[in-house]
């Protein structure tokens, strides 16, 4: 088992790349940087493939490897009184779920690294970009390959950090650094929930290891609907909403488009934002014990899906549309997990990684061709000018809209079917899902037509420079397009005659008897729903075609007619403004209060001490002047006054002295005469 024994190489090679960039990157040429920071993830991907094939030979069991014990916490009491002994290890667990994630991260990550060579080639800070990207790969791989919640949290925080670093890559721009801060802070709020969930898990289970917790949850110790389990699940889900941009913590993702496009593709489409879905899927044993938590997950997933899709309908920045699309598609994945179809959620995660990364990289190619223009109102008629980009983007747009037989069709329809038919699902959830699918098809083809079709609205100076991207950028686009088409075929559902290899592969992870029952139901119903959703998507496509190719003046008329509704959507339901008023400005108020306190009380105290010292010195001076010197002067004055009579006697005249002699004699004589 060569590859599996050295599984730790998979995260370590990108880490090595990051270290090399951080220490010597400045001195390396761009070519050397590319060789190191794209080559090492490439080797990681090959190693991951090797590990995957060796895992298949293990036939269903998980591969675990503990490197060393990180936190030997020792004995303590659990909530039910038993003695727990927590050890959190640095260890790896490779099973079907983490293998899927690992391949997605390394494979798509590698392609995006290759793309970045072309995209970032003329930018400053080339080595810094690749250093951060490699650090991100390392953190994400730690996250997906961890064997316990605490190590996963290390990776979780690491990807949050790299997200901040990469969003704020152009830190000279205030909007970029603000977006980086916003991402990190909103993420952190979710992380607080995550940590609380893990802590509750520690005192309930006495362990944070995935296998041990799942085993304890499935052992029957806990009743369905147990309060503590529900609390743990809700807290963990709060972490997922932060990381995976669901309501209410999604506001950072659209702003994160300030970062370079490869960052948006890798972090905010394919990998980091999917960490929340992965975590919920990993905790499926806990979630199925709590119908309340499942309902919350499904509800928020569905609500986010339709909310974000509605905002994406009217956005004019090409990357913003894709950002809201990502939020919406993540909503689908959580909807799937919430109705118990964890496998379908992971399936959609995988297909979405292909076509969303392709969409982002393609948009990056468009932006690159238009010398930095991102506003779709200034694009148009680019199909013939950048053909490779255009064709691959078309494939991706078809895939995300659920065009039959492409990857998105299989994964999205699986989710819609499960939300309809699963014991945890409901008709309402299905309706929301279908409406969102229609909206998705509409806004994605709106994006496509505004960019590539119709009349050119590109300004003249830019039009001269329009050129197809270099091969380093187009080759990954083609590879991803192949994936966007074919990746769904491993999940070909039974209703259409396939054997759904993907679901079977993931079955050991998601064992849940309740769900297995509902799997064997009327194929005709499933086929009917499938056809209906294709129809809805086709309607969305047709409406976009009418409004953006045949009658380009129509959107403006509709927007004017809709008036306030259009404004609300364009301004993203004013959620950012609401958060600012409720939280951000209140936090700033606390800061200002603290600053005022610091200035008035602390600095005032210091200044006061200085003032009082000067005052004391002044009093001392006055005392010295008036009292001390005064006493001396009074003394001298007294002496002068008292000595005056004595002084006056010194007339200097001999006759005066003679008079005194005579007077003295007379006094003596008088005394003797009287007494004798």
């Amino acid at each position: 088992m060569l590859f599996l024994d050295y599984i730790w190489l998979i995260p370590l090679l990108p880490a090595l790349g990051a270290a090399i960039q951080f220490f010597w990157g400045r001195k390396l040429s761009n070519q050397a940087v590319s060789l190191v920071s794209v080559g090492l993830p490439g080797i990681s991907f090959l190693w991951a493939l090797g590990c995957f094939f060796q895992l298949l030979r293990l036939d269903g069991t998980a591969f675990t490897k503990v490197m060393y014990t990180w936190l030997p916490a020792g004995a303590f009491r659990l909530t039910d009184g038993t003695l727990g002994n927590l050890t959190a290890d640095v260890g790896f667990q490779l099973d079907a779920l983490s293998a899927v994630m690992m391949l997605v991260v390394t494979g798509i990550g590698f392609l995006i690294h290759i793309y970045s060579i072309g995209y970032m080639g003329h930018e400053g800070g080339y080595y810094r970009f690749f250093g951060y990207m490699n650090l991100f790969m390392f953190s994400m791989l730690v996250l997906v390959l961890a064997d316990n919640y605490l190590m996963m949290f290390v990776g979780w925080e690491g990807v949050g950090l790299c997200s901040y670093l990469l969003i704020g890559f152009y830190f000279h721009r205030k909007s970029a650094s603000d977006a980086g801060k916003k991402a990190f802070i909103v993420n952190r709020i979710g992380d607080a929930g995550f940590l609380l969930g893990v802590m509750l898990m520690v005192v309930t289970f006495g362990s944070v290891n995935f296998l041990q917790v799942s085993e304890a949850a499935r052992s029957g110790r806990f009743a369905v609907g147990d309060g503590v389990i529900t609390a743990i699940c809700i807290l963990l889900f709060i972490g997922a909403t932060g990381k995976s941009a669901q309501i209410p913590l999604y506001t950072w993702l659209p702003d994160a488009m300030e970062g370079p496009t490869p960052v948006s593709a890798l972090i905010h489409a394919a990998t980091m934002v999917t960490a929340g879905v992965y975590m919920v899927a990993r905790s499926n044993a806990l979630f199925v014990l709590s119908p309340a938590a499942m309902g919350l997950v499904a509800g928020i997933g569905a609500a986010t899906a339709i909310w974000a899709a509605s905002i994406g309908l009217v956005q004019n920045d090409i990357k913003r549309v894709l950002a809201y699309s990502t939020v919406s598609q993540l909503g689908y994945m959580f909807l799937a997990c919430g109705v118990g179809a964890f496998g379908a959620g992971i399936f959609h995660l995988m297909t979405h990684a292909f076509f969303k990364a392709l969409l982002f990289l393609g948009s990056g190619s468009v932006i690159h061709a238009l010398s930095g223009e991102q506003d779709m109102r200034k694009m148009g008629a680019l199909w013939s000018k950048i053909p490779t980009t255009a064709k691959t983007m078309l494939v991706a747009t078809l895939a995300i809209s659920g065009a039959p037989l492409l990857s998105g069709f299989f994964s999205k329809d699986e989710i819609l079917w499960q939300s309809f038919a699963s014991p945890y699902g409901s008709k309402l959830l299905w309706v929301v899902g279908v409406v969102t699918a229609g909206l998705t098809a509409f806004y994605m083809f709106r994006l496509f037509f505004m960019t590539f079709a119709g009349k050119s609205r590109v300004p003249h100076e830019v039009e001269h420079h329009v050129h197809e991207s270099p091969r380093s950028m187009t080759i990954p686009l083609v590879c991803l397009a192949v994936g966007a088409v074919a990746a769904g075929w491993i999940g070909w559902p039974k209703a259409l005659g396939g054997s759904n290899h993907f679901e079977h592969f993931l079955e050991p992870i998601f064992e849940n008897p309740a769900l297995r029952e509902s799997a064997h139901h009327a194929w005709s119903l499933e086929f009917g729903l499938m056809a209906f959703s294709v129809l809805v998507a086709a309607a969305g496509f047709y409406l976009a075609y009418r409004w953006y190719v045949q009658r380009p003046e129509a959107p403006e008329r509709v927007a004017a007619a809709a008036g306030p509704a259009y404004q609300i959507l364009l301004n993203k339901y004013y959620v950012d403004e609401l958060y600012d008023a409720l939280f951000v400005n209140r936090a700033k108020d606390v800061g200002n209060l603290a600053a005022a306190f610091d200035m008035a009380v602390v600095d005032g105290g210091v200044n006061g001490v200085g003032w009082s010292t000067r005052m004391t010195a002044e009093i001392s001076r006055l005392w010295d002047l008036w009292v001390i010197d005064g006493l001396v002067n009074v003394l001298a004055f007294t002496v002068k006054v008292l000595s005056y009579p004595v002084r006056v006697i010194q007339t200097g005249l001999v006759q005066t002295y003679a008079l005194l002699i005579v007077l003295g004699v007379l006094i003596f004589m008088g005394y003797y005469l009287i007494h004798f």
């Binding site: 002084r647 010194q650 007339t651 200097g652 005249l653 001999v654 006759q655 008079l659």
Partner: protein, 100 residues
């Protein structure tokens, strides 16, 4: 015989005049003269008692006093001349260098 107390009263009167002269006169030569007068008054006193007691001691003492007065007058005048050379005045009121 003249009663002895007449001589004593004369002596006292002369002495008193001399004292007053020393104390009040401005001219230093006149002060010297007043001092001589006091000495002579003392001489009269001495001789008067010598006559009364029929002793010669009083008269002998008076001779000494005269001699003494002569020497003192010589020195006194010398002092006045030295004083005059320095202060250009024989007015006792103006010799007050030791005034405060």
């Amino acid at each position: 015989m003249i009663p002895t107390h007449y001589y004593l009263l004369l002596g006292t009167a002369l002495f008193t005049v001399g004292v007053v002269g020393v104390l009040t006169r401005r001219n230093v030569i006149v002060i010297l003269m007043s001092i001589e007068l006091m000495l002579n008054a003392v001489n009269i006193n001495l001789v008067a008692f010598s006559h009364w007691f029929k002793e010669i001691d009083g008269q002998a003492f008076a001779i000494f006093v005269i001699t003494d007065a002569a020497a003192e007058a010589a020195i006194g005048l010398g002092l006045i001349i030295a004083l005059f050379r320095n202060k250009e005045t024989v007015n006792a009121d103006e010799i007050d260098l030791l005034k405060w």
